[in-house]
Symmetry: C2
Subunit: 226 residues, 2 copies
DNA sequence: TGTACATCAGTGAACGCGCGTTCACTGATGTAC
DNA sequence: TGTACATCAGTGAACGCGCGTTCACTGATGTAC
């Protein structure tokens, strides 16, 4: 039952919201140190000077905390990409390059959150649930829009792919993007994901190689494709 | 102290070797079901009808079992790639395509082992230790050799990359491969890793898209690069 | 060939630890009259 | 403005579980003479 006449959150609500944020911040600190399986409610509580059960006032259980972290991370990534796209003026290719670099930079700055997004974090945790797939959409949309500006006309694409991407776009209400651009952007994303995940796991470092040039090459390849 | 005059393993040695294999097989079964953090010595022992401490007769500890699984997996992947390269006759591009498909197929058949290779499996486990980097080399060599057959002449490559890859090859005693081919093959590998890891985590499935065509495109792109 | 001995696979108990989660409760805080 | 009440954050104990690892031991197996 809500209070008689009240608009906006009361002091208790604000307190709740703030503690929720602190819990999430502590959780991220743990992820940064120990990987997804190191996320422990008891340890988080201890870090905040509370006992374990207190957290159940703020999150239903461990999985919903994890889910919220994933959704936050998707939102954060999308913001970073959108900022890069918006900050850059000039040719669409330059904007795409900025988005690509922003993708890489975000992952390098917060590798633990990147891992949270793109690998099944825990046994039994469904990383492809509808809500999570939806949460990933905004970031993808940034890339799609910039890519669309690069290639107005619909280029060649095998019929199978055309219909598959067409369905996908219809399902996510994506308009003003051709199936060819969607397919090509997905491929770009896969390429970037390959580079980024090898980079943050230290594979290039152990080879003694700086992957920076690879990212620039991606952009050139992408542009030439149309 | 070794027995007086004996060549080859005795019955006890053979028994040991067999149990070791059974332990590893049980471990892989567990990985297939629960992910890397689900690998439990006690659970493995139970599956083999033994008690936990018995495993310490066969492996020093959990980490060395894990390491052995990783090394086995690298060997297995290298075999699969070499088989694909050897089975295919004809133009070098066809052989490369076969290797690419073999890479994908191996990952699809054994996603849990693929994950074991290309992500930091556990907090505190050093996936980039020297022995593991060495173990990964044979698989890379298969790709390098096939790629080399495709492009004999040394094409353009930024100076920074040229020297970095030159050093890398010197360190791993890789000969008859140009720095440009090494760089390009590394890029191909990163691309494939991106596709494969998204595929085995279910990202394409959740998009309703069959990534098969993407792999074929990789090969075409690679060949055209020279 | 038979017997004594060394080897070593496997057990069972124990150590110390951490996990997520539930439950009944205390005590402070904000709210309504 | 003051008092009674409802709300609800947080505690502490408990449940049941699993983990890796050590240790002293039993008992079977292979080996040497």
């Amino acid at each position: 039952m809500t209070p008689k006449s009240r608009t906006g959150p009361g002091p208790r609500d604000r307190f709740r919201a703030q503690v929720r944020q602190e819990v999430k911040a502590a959780a991220l600190r743990q992820l940064a140190e120990g990987g997804p399986e190191a996320l422990s409610l008891n340890a988080i509580a201890k870090q905040l000077g509370m006992t374990g059960p207190a957290l159940y006032r703020y999150f239903a259980n461990r999985d919903s905390l994890l889910t919220e972290l994933v959704i936050d991370a998707y939102g954060d990534l999308a913001s970073a990409l959108a900022r890069a796209a918006g900050d850059t003026t000039g040719h669409a290719a330059a904007r795409l390059a900025a988005v690509v670099r922003a993708y890489r930079d975000w992952a390098r700055t917060e590798p633990h959150r990147y891992r949270l997004l793109f690998r099944a974090p825990l046994p039994g945790y469904d990383a492809q649930s509808t809500s999570l797939v939806d949460a990933s959409q905004p970031a993808m949309n940034v890339a799609l829009n910039v890519a669309s500006a690069l290639a107005a006309s619909d280029t060649a694409l095998p019929e199978g792919s055309r219909s598959q991407f067409g369905e996908w776009m219809k399902r996510h209400a994506i308009e003003d993007v051709s199936a060819a651009v969607a397919a090509r952007t997905t491929m770009l994303w896969a390429h970037l994901h390959g580079l980024v995940s090898l980079e943050i796991e230290g594979n290039f470092t152990s080879m003694g190689i700086d992957p920076t040039l690879f990212y620039e090459e991606e952009v050139r390849d992408f542009v030439q494709w149309f």
